[in-house]
Amino acid sequence: MLAEFLQFLFSGLTVGATYALAALGFTLIYNASNVINFAQGEFIMLGGMLSVFFTMAGLPMPVALALAILVPAIVGVIVEKLAIEPVKGAETVTLIIITIGASLVIRGLIQVWLGKGTFALPAFSGEEPIQILGATLMPQSLWVFGVTAVVVAVLWYFFNRTLSGKAMLATSFNRLAAELVGINTSWVLFMSFAMSAALGALGGILIAPITMTSYDVGIMLGLKGFVAAVVGGLGNGLGAVIGGLLVGILEAMGAGYISSAYKDAIPFVLILFILFFMPRGLFGGKSTDRV
């Protein structure tokens, strides 16, 4: 009983950490620009696919992984410069379609370049499972937990203790006011796309040894990251992390105890229920509209 429960919990936390990183990416871009970046999932895919490609090309692991984060970050910036900046202030649905267009281009290019195959990245430190109270934990899961925790801590420090981070926060509260006090808001937009693409790619790399990767994994991972961001209340960083872990755990529990066929539906049922009763997510503040 306990072993089974722990087993589901471990796998839920592992995949939940990826959702959390993706959700942080959604949150960063949403805060900087009010855009929901539907291409976020493709950065997760890019991270996984590029790390496989660079290691197969013979690069040493650390270099390959660094490149697999850097390249998606550059792609993120290109998307921002070419597609998001020119249409500032467009309608929500227009922006959604632009980011979906971007995701199709990214996915299509990878499909042309690397094919439709499924790839696995070797685990970072062996495949020897660790036994805990009858459940097994893969060493890769420890990497996922550890790196995610470090990233969250670094982000917290960045947004609360550094001038650049505070400038980004200020822009998310009130763009005009931020501009008035001299914050370069287009730099903020630039940074938020680079950072969220890098976060997504990192999630994709960490999870690639466990779940495998292919050109089309980005769609579902991205949508679930979006669910996680909304669960926590859009724009709330801490909410995004908790939302990601929650979505991951419930998905694993649902797949284990209820039905594995409906695994992918669980996050969406969860989000409908949460939105029915808490229209702004778990941690979203109350808002009042100015007329």
Binding site: Y30, I36, L82, A83, P86, V87, A90, E91, T92, V93, T94, I96, I97, I98, I100, G101, A102, S103, L104, V105, I106, R107, G108, L109, Q111, V112, I219, L223, F226, V227, V230, L234, A261, Y262, D264, A265, F268, V269, I271, L272, L275, F276, P279, R280, G281, D289, V291
Partner: protein, 310 residues
């Protein structure tokens, strides 16, 4: 306005009458039928997105319910196709009405999330209930029968669909100019302001959502009978996005924009087959290009340029 000749509708009728005589072969007639069906779906969706300003990223789910009702009910329960079609509409209507109230308390991205979630849940259910739906492989749909004759020929289908399209265009135009339509446009402009002048915002949003969902279900049934086969891809997230794209590319809140968007984006994948393997890339790039350079859509942009409204 009322007295003015409805030139737009006349042009649509003229084109629809001309098409069967100019298309060179059945391939293009098939394309024309699918364009007309998509045009009707997009008309319904545009009422919701363009006029009332509410996003739905799960509309293909409703199409799916209609299509599968027309496949499952006659096959497993022996229902008459027309009754099955009606059954699909009723199921969709009830589902849409149930979720609409809580959903329409939401705004913007939260609404996008909720409708997206609903669509994905419907899709996954269709994919998993293989004993009824054939699972990921889909299932055949029995032919439509009217007055005791079964409909197979593309020509017959074309005239049915064309007639329905004319009715749909005419009905949309009237709906938009009715008090109901004015209320919708008002709540798109400002929900608070329309509430102040006595528009029951929630009721209108729920009605237009249910209306466009039921309409989608109806079109799903018709598509299923016409093609003779349904698969879960018909109800997936990407199809929902395609439909929303048709609305936006053609022009939000524009009846003729809906037609233009549906025609263009139904033809596009055919035109892209020559790109062998690059279709996805080119399709994505075209979507982005349209949204960046014509964010208001084709028809409204042209209308503004030549200085006349619809």
């Amino acid at each position: 306005m009322q007295k003015k000749l409805n030139i737009g509708l006349l042009i649509v009728i003229f084109i629809l009458l001309a098409v069967p005589f100019v298309v060179p072969n059945s391939f293009y007639l098939d394309l024309a039928i699918r364009m007309a069906i998509n045009a009707m779906i997009v008309l319904g969706l545009n009422l919701l997105i363009g006029f009332a300003g509410q996003i739905s990223l799960g509309h293909a789910g409703f199409l799916g319910i209609g299509a599968y009702a027309s496949a499952v009910l006659p096959t497993h329960f022996g229902w008459h196709p027309l009754l099955a079609m009606l059954g699909g509409c009723v199921i969709t209507g009830i589902l849409a009405a149930l979720v609409a109230r809580p959903i329409f308390k939401l705004k913007g991205h939260y609404l996008a999330m909720a409708t997206l979630g609903l669509g994905i849940i419907i899709n996954i259910t269709l994919r998993n209930e293989a004993q009824w739906t054939g699972g990921p492989d889909g299932m055949p749909v029995p032919p439509m029968s009217l007055f005791g004759t079964e409909i197979y020929s593309d020509k017959t289908w074309y005239w049915i669909v064309a007639a329905l399209l004319v009715i749909a265009v005419w009905a949309s135009q009237n709906l938009i100019d009715s008090p109901f339509g004015r209320a919708l446009r008002a709540l798109h402009g400002s929900e608070v302001a329309s509430q102040v002048v006595g528009v029951n915002v929630v009721r209108y949003k729920v009605s237009i959502f249910v209306l466009s969902a039921v309409f989608a279900s109806l079109m799903g049934s018709i598509t299923a009978h016409y093609i003779g086969f349904v698969s879960p891809n018909f109800a997936d997230f990407f199809h929902s996005i395609e439909l929303v794209t048709m609305v936006v590319v053609g022009g939000m809140a524009s009846v003729f924009g809906s037609l233009v968007g549906a025609v263009l984006l139904t033809a596009l994948p055919q035109a892209l087959t020559s790109f062998e393997g690059w279709e996805t890339v080119v399709f994505g790039a075209i979507l982005m290009g349209f949204m960046i350079f014509l964010p208001k859509g084709i028809v409204p942009t042209l209308a503004a340029k030549f200085g006349k409204g619809e």
